[in-house]
């Protein structure tokens, strides 16, 4: 085990994947000599050269569309989108071609493309640099969508994503980029938990708290605070948003009878909406109270000085805990 930041863990994940398979190449803006704006690709150009670490023109659809052509040719491109809000120009190539070509070709063409997206807010960034577009991709059949919450997962799940024959959208929470965690660089992919599995980050008995990405840390803080008040929260780090590991999720909800979802993406038609609907379909008779979502507001991402009011914090999660437990000390008491 080595203590690494998430940036370094992803860097190591890319390095190992490229050493393991010479068909893997990395493409994106500023990823070569600069090492990426977050330095995620630092040092890779020196080791693998410009044929495999491809500094691209500033054109997201171009990056994604040429990745499609490379995949046609048998390559496994790892595409870096510089910031979450810059993925939209590539959206057409992703949903119309990356996601659908395997289906459209009756399985004759594989699209093993990994789309890395530095993701979400909490880092005081400028406009368009803090977005949470995961629901768009979860809604697109043919894509797998994962979101990591710690350096070990970042290292392992990235390698799994690159090895996967399907396209994978890989969300990297920016606000955890420089958080250190233990990473086993010798992890054997064959022994690791499969990419689609959720992780019980903290076991509990009273409430199931579903989350992913950077919100896992906030959820863990909330669980610790709730424990002090005598409430046992089971925190599930979903890790995969498509597919969702409903086996783990429903086992937890059937045990606790109460469920909360928290994410910083906007609420309307978000991943939380899908999770609540699916959990309700599967666990209606086990539920002791109505499920609750704790999400970003239905607004464009706010200015940096105000973002702390948008990204759900510990107190908003605890308020939801009160609601699912039907406690009178809920901060809002708002009838939804």
């Amino acid at each position: 085990m080595t203590d690494l930041t998430m940036v370094k863990a992803i860097n190591e994940g890319l390095r190992r994947a490229m050493r393991d398979d010479d068909k893997v190449l990395v493409m994106g803006e500023d990823i070569g000599r600069l090492g990426g704006v977050f330095r995620v690709t630092d040092g890779l150009l020196d080791e693998f050269g410009a044929q495999r670490i491809v500094d691209t023109p500033l054109a997201e659809s171009g990056i994604m569309g040429t990745a499609v052509g490379l995949a046609y040719r048998g390559y496994r491109p790892v595409v870096e989108i510089q910031f979450d809000g810059f993925v939209y120009p590539a959206f057409d190539q992703i949903v119309s071609n990356v996601a659908k070509l395997h289906y459209r070709s009756q399985g004759a063409v594989k699209m093993p493309i990994t789309i890395r997206i530095p993701w979400a807010g909490g880092v005081g960034a400028a406009e368009h640099h803090s977005e949470s577009p995961e629901a768009y991709f979860v809604h697109t059949s043919g894509l797998r969508v994962v979101a990591v919450s710690n350096p070990q997962d970042a290292y392992v799940v990235l390698r799994q994503a690159i090895a996967c024959d399907d396209p994978v959208v890989f969300f990297e929470p920016k606000r955890l980029y420089h958080t250190k965690g233990a990473v086993n660089l010798d992890t054997d992919l064959a022994d690791a938990a499969p990419m689609g599995l959720a992780r019980i980050a903290r076991p509990g008995t009273d409430v199931t708290l579903l989350t992913y990405g950077a919100q896992v840390a906030t959820a863990m803080d909330a669980a610790i605070a709730a424990e002090d008040e005598g409430t046992s929260i089971e925190v599930i780090d979903l890790r995969s948003l498509s597919p969702v590991d409903y086996k783990t999720v429903t086992a937890s909800v059937r045990k606790t009878g109460r469920v909360i979802v928290t994410h910083e993406a906007a609420r309307e038609a978000g991943v939380g909406a899908e999770l609540i609907a699916s959990v309700t379909e599967r666990c209606f008779n086990y539920l002791e109270s109505a499920p609750v979502r704790v999400t970003g507001w239905d607004i464009p991402y706010p200015p940096a000085k105000l973002e702390k009011h948008h990204v759900p914090d510990l107190d908003r999660i605890l308020d939801a805990v009160d609601r699912v437990l039907d406690r009178p000390n809920s901060l809002t008491g708002v009838e939804l």
């Binding site: 569309g65 040429t66 390559y75 190539q93 659908k100």
Partner: protein, 372 residues
């Protein structure tokens, strides 16, 4: 290199600023840029190109007829564009790769498609009519200009593999307005990718004339990206062959991308859902009918005494046979079982979809049990 950056008064009518080798009347003329690329093309090869165009026209008319008879859902005709499609696609090597749009039936034909390979998708049986790996031809693209980027990416793969293959991609004049083609040309030029861009300027993007897409001849854009280009008569199969050979040689020998604007005309509607009489006049269509790509080859060969009755009869019979085979392949297609719509969404197991498949399978099985 024949290109122009000069704005045209009316791009739609100014179609004579092109390089050609056969006039509309079938007279062989000289072009110093094109001639060196077709010195080996004698009467026998011209007859083969003529035969290809006739067979393509038959596939196309069969597709139209099958749509009118309700056997295919939609058809995008290519009558009038035979010389552009055959001349360009026949210049490819088998191990090159093609990225066509949905209208390049002739490219799919030239790449060796079987009769069912032209219309399985148009009939609505599947999203693709053939295996792209077997034909070295991507699934025809409907999203406008998206395939041009795929072609460049594939060409970047060729560079990494160190082979002398080349890639060609086809798109219409409307596609030149799309961002993806702009990005494809930037990427191709920046990486010196071995890719040939073939713009089929057929004058109309559904109902929008080419003048809505461009104010100067389209071939003039490529040099701005550092890509050499040619503007050729797209109804002259010999000129298109020459231009494509030049472009492919350019790509294959490490000189990077090349661009061809083939000036031609879509004689029919955009698709079978379209009514071109609402946006263009009969005179225009008749003008282009007088420039028919098949007729000029026939006229040239007849003048050389190289187009005999036996040849004409054989080609007519081949066309009839192919038309019948295409029709039979269409009528004999069987629709896949309902459960198969959930296949091939993912290459590896996906628990969410597997769950849906289990549910749908059980649901379908319930009907079978009820029928017993």
């Amino acid at each position: 290199m024949v290109y122009t950056l000069t704005p045209a008064a009316d791009l739609h009518s100014d179609v004579e600023d092109v390089a050609r080798l056969l006039t509309a009347d079938g007279e062989r003329i000289t072009d110093h840029e094109l001639d060196p690329w077709v010195t080996d093309v004698g009467p026998e090869q011209l007859r083969a190109l003529y035969r290809d165009m006739v067979l393509l026209r038959r596939i196309d008319s069969e597709g139209m007829a099958l749509q009118r008879q309700g056997q295919v859902g939609l058809w995008a005709p290519c009558q009038g564009q035979e010389a552009t499609q055959i001349g360009s696609a026949r210049a490819l090597r088998t191990d090159d790769f093609a990225f066509p749009s949905y209208r390049e039936t002739g490219v799919v034909y030239a790449r060796g498609a079987e009769p069912e390979g032209f219309l399985r998708a148009w009939r609505g049986e599947a999203h693709s009519s053939y295996d792209p790996n077997e034909l070295g031809t991507a699934i025809p693209q409907i999203i406008i200009a998206a395939q041009t980027l795929h072609a460049v990416g594939y060409a970047m793969g060729i560079q990494r593999d160190g082979t002398d293959q080349a890639v060609a991609t086809w798109f219409g004049d409307g596609a030149t307005s799309q961002g993806d083609l702009n990005e494809a040309m930037v990427f191709a030029a920046s990486y010196n990718a071995p890719v040939v861009f073939v713009c089929t300027n057929n004058q109309w993007a559904i109902s929008e004339p080419v003048g809505v897409q461009a104010k100067a001849p389209i071939a003039g854009r490529a040099p701005g990206y550092g890509i050499p280009s040619m503007r050729v008569d797209g109804n002259d199969v010999l000129a298109v062959t020459a231009a494509m050979r030049w472009a492919l040689d350019h790509a294959r020998t490490g000189k990077g991308p090349a661009f061809i604007e083939a000036v031609t005309y879509r004689m029919g509607p955009h698709t079978t859902s379209d009514d071109p009489t609402r946006y263009r006049g009969k005179d225009e269509v008749e003008y282009w009918r007088s420039r028919d790509p098949l007729a000029r080859v026939e006229a040239y060969l007849r003048a050389q005494d190289e187009f005999g009755d036996a040849f004409a009869a054989q080609v007519a019979k081949d066309a009839d046979d192919l038309g019948a085979a295409v029709r039979a392949a269409c009528l004999q297609m069987t629709t896949a079982p309902a459960i198969s719509i959930l296949d091939n969404v993912y290459a590896e197991p996906h628990t969410g979809l597997e769950e849906e498949k289990a549910w749908f399978g059980a649901y379908l099985d319930g009907f079978e049990e009820a029928a017993l």
